[in-house]
């Protein structure tokens, strides 16, 4: 069930250039069921910024009733969020949307997780859930540059981890697709989150396979009421059929929506 609650900041850390890791605690955490879901955060007190900000859940600790997000402080809302300190409260609406289906890969099988930049975070909880049930995971993570990279170690502890940086300052120089081209494994499922061109490339590359893509779109309500975040569904003539990224997604099986 979606809840609206003031959650307490357990920790807030800068972990890379402009990248913050924020852990919150509260009852709402017990509603989090699936990796890949997100929350909608109020980052200021008054009317400025007015709208909530959608941020993915990057890990969940059900016992402690805590969850973690990783976000880039870019515009005014995320900058305000990054200025908040331990013990302060954050107004959270969530958990929202439908996440990655962990059941798409079975014990002993291999899953490929492909993340780009600020699309990397939700893959972390996914990877934890997959490895927990005995799925072998391979991570391919792309960043702009070494300074913007985060969680390499955390992902490495869970499985094979390849890094690509656009400027070549770390790992493979280039895009995640440059790494993927060299992978020879047989993947039971492919999961991806990141910029749309990347998702497109992943979809094209793994045609006919079990691919799950997490989309991003500007949001109003975050719960399915305002029609802000709509994308075209692949099926149906006339282009009138659609999906809402916030409530039908953000994760869709490849081929379900037009990228």
């Amino acid at each position: 069930m979606i809840k609206n609650e003031q959650l307490m900041i357990v920790s807030q850390k800068q972990i890379a250039e402009s990248i913050y890791e924020l852990t919150l605690q509260g009852e709402l955490v017990s509603e989090m069921k699936q990796p890949g879901q997100f929350v909608h955060l109020k980052t200021g007190d008054g009317y400025e910024p007015l709208l909530r900000r959608p941020i993915s859940i990057s890990s969940i600790d059900n016992e402690k009733k805590q969850f973690t997000m990783i976000y880039r402080a870019e515009g005014r809302g995320t900058a305000l969020l990054s200025a908040k300190k331990e013990k302060q409260k954050v107004d959270v609406l969530g958990p929202l949307g439908n996440g990655f289906p962990v059941e798409a890969a079975a014990e002993g099988e291999t899953a490929l997780l492909i993340g780009g930049g600020i699309g990397v975070p939700p893959l972390f909880e996914l990877s934890r859930k997959l490895t927990e049930k005995g799925v072998r995971v391979i991570h391919v993570l792309g960043f702009q540059t070494k300074n913007a990279m985060f969680y390499e170690q955390q992902f490495s502890l869970l499985g094979e981890t390849h890094i690509a940086t656009v400027d070549g300052s770390y790992g493979t120089k280039g895009l995640v697709t440059d790494v993927i081209d060299n992978l020879r494994d047989n993947f039971a499922a492919i999961y991806s989150c990141g910029p749309t061109p990347m998702l497109k490339a992943v979809q094209d590359k793994f045609q006919g396979r079990d691919v799950f893509l997490s989309l991003e779109e500007r949001m109003g309500c975050g719960i399915g009421a305002c029609f802000a975040c709509v994308c075209h569904a692949a099926e149906g003539a006339g282009g009138k059929s659609y999906r809402k990224v916030c409530s039908d997604g953000p994760v869709f099986p490849a081929g379900e929506v037009v990228l």
Binding site: L51, C221, G224, A225, F227
Partner: protein
């Protein structure tokens, strides 16, 4: 005694608070948060004869104390709204105000005739003011004679009272209000969004795919209030006011300005519980103000002035 009840044409409202059209879908999402029967009414998303996909994305952008939207009247079309949405809404004890949109007079007439037959639709809201569709819409709301005519035609076919939703993007909103009143409107709802835009300096292009969009939220409240205040003094049909309402005090400002009830739009996105919160706070506010019933507050700002003026004269 219910100090918040208000009777308007077609509408027996438990209280004067209702979600604004387009900001509440068809109620399903918000029914997760609270019992929709607690609302005064629900203004459902604009319905057109045929399903509409609407505009390309991005469809929303943030501005200072406001937001722009260019949804483009996306909706599942008359048939589905009747069969799926309105039927589903019947489980709640709440009057529905159906927002009717179209790109020509016949569209309005057709949708109005059909949707007004639904048992829980107690009133229509003629949306002649959507700034986000090119093929008409807005023109209906800016030319008095056109507004009057579409009102008249819709009145002829509607089974329920007709409210007309006015656009603020006009030189004289009083003129339009008078025109729709003379066309037979039972009430006015106002305001729809102000036409605005934002430009992204990184891309050099407008943020919204549709270029321009409708500005809503606290930023527009002073404009909306002024318009309600002006229109209320020139017409005798009731007004449902809206534009930036986020608190019980905001709601009361509109009622003082002359609204008989109010709608809450954008604020639902910020706080999904905003409508029931305002409903809960109103009785306390009434007490503070020293009014026994909400109806005493309608138009108080100018009626008081008038009383003073008369007294002086």
């Amino acid at each position: 005694m219910n100090t918040l009840s208000i009777n308007l044409p077609g509408l027996d409202l438990k209280n004067p608070i209702m979600p604004a059209s387009g900001c509440f879908g068809f109620g399903r999402e918000y029914s997760q948060f609270y019992d929709l029967s607690s609302l005064g009414a629900i203004m459902i998303k604009a319905t057109t004869a045929e399903p509409r996909f609407g505009n390309p994305t991005p469809r929303v952008a943030e501005t200072s104390a406001g937001m722009l939207n260019a949804i483009g009247l996306q909706n599942p079309g008359l048939e589905k709204v009747l069969e799926e949405e309105l039927t589903w809404l019947e489980q709640f004890d709440v009057p529905i105000i159906a927002n009717v949109a179209g790109s020509c007079e016949e569209d309005y007439v057709h949708v109005a005739r059909e949707i007004s037959k639904a048992p829980n639709v107690h009133a229509l809201e003629l949306n002649i003011s959507c700034p986000n569709v090119k093929e008409g819409g807005i023109a209906f709301g800016t030319i008095p004679e056109v507004a009057r005519e579409v009102t008249r035609k819709v009145k002829q076919v509607s089974d329920v009272p007709v409210y007309v939703k006015l656009s603020p993007n006009v030189s004289s909103i009083v003129e339009i209000a008078k025109a729709v009143e003379s066309g037979g409107a039972d009430g006015i709802t106002m305001i729809n969004t102000l036409l605005g835009m934002r430009i992204d300096l990184r891309t050099g292009k407008p943020v919204l795919a549709n270029t321009t969009g409708g500005l809503s939220g606290p930023a527009i409240k002073p404009v909306a209030l002024r318009m309600v205040y002006e229109v209320n003094q020139h017409i005798s049909i009731p007004i449902i006011g809206m534009g930036g309402i986020s608190t019980a005090e905001d709601a009361m400002e509109f009622i003082y300005a002359g609204a008989s009830a109010v709608a809450v739009g954008t604020a639902n996105f910020v706080d999904p519980f905003v409508c029931p919160k305002i409903i809960d706070e109103l009785p306390g506010l009434l007490q503070k103000i020293g009014a026994a019933h909400i109806s005493e507050c309608i138009g108080r700002s100018w009626k008081q002035n008038e009383a003073i003026a008369n007294h002086r004269a």
